[in-house]
Point group: C2
Chain length 146, copies 2
């Protein structure tokens, strides 16, 4: 236990693809726990820190806010209680996810169409700019993300 393998913050950063400052920032805002320190005051991380950080990074990557991640983490830390709260969180997020997918798919279509038609052409033929200028040309339904 005392001679358990501990690694530096740099190791954790390389391990998770997260920047060193970001790790310290997560610790500062209480999203990552304070790790033990070495004699020279360096943070000493084990594999469990990498797991938690991967959880956070993956969630961020998929569009969850730090606040939502904080909630998910607290739920994940008490796996015996009902997951009604997690379910509600997930349902709320699902609506946003669906909306984003729809709008991104519409944009994807236009971006691809442009790449075919636009090569060497003029901007007046670029559908992308028309699509971006005129909301009604968009294929998706109107949805406001706050």
């Amino acid at each position: 236990m005392t001679d358990r393998k501990d690694f530096t913050i740099g190791w954790l950063a390389r391990r998770t693809g997260c920047k060193v400052q970001t790790i310290r920032y997560y610790e500062q805002i209480g999203l990552m726990p304070e790790p033990p320190r070495s004699d020279g005051n360096r943070r000493l991380y084990g594999a469990e820190f990498a797991d938690r950080l991967n959880f956070i990074r993956h969630s961020r990557d998929l569009g969850f806010s730090l606040g939502a991640i904080r909630e998910l983490l607290s739920l994940a830390e008490n796996p015996d209680q009902s997951c009604a709260a997690a379910d509600k969180l997930a349902r709320t997020h699902l609506q946003d996810v669906n909306s984003r997918i729809a709008r991104l798919s519409a944009l994807k279509t236009e971006l691809e169409r442009m790449s075919q038609q636009c090569s060497g052409g003029k901007i007046s033929e670029c559908l992308v700019i028309e699509v971006l200028a005129d909301h009604s040309k968009c294929v998706s339904d109107e949805h406001q993300t706050a």
Copy 2:
């Protein structure tokens, strides 16, 4: 042709679904031009401002940065030149769009599965948390080992 068709910033905000402060912010950073003012120093907007603001808002909504929008706007203002630059911008964005759609689709699957399985259950059965904790459980096409 700018004689009697001028409206307040509030009108423009309602017209475009953009907050008043955000409009003033866009003016401040040079994304929206300075409109004429009334005797009482109020900004006076016409329809062309709504068009430009809709372009900006829609682009933002679809994930373009203000920097990219600034470029697109300058390109849109010179529609006679080649759109190679706009094409390059669009292609770059397309890669990101595709990546986001893939990851969001994977999350959507898990969120939906959770909503079915999770009702009244325990968190330990929630796949969402597992998916978010472990990248390799993600359904997306690329399997990454962390």
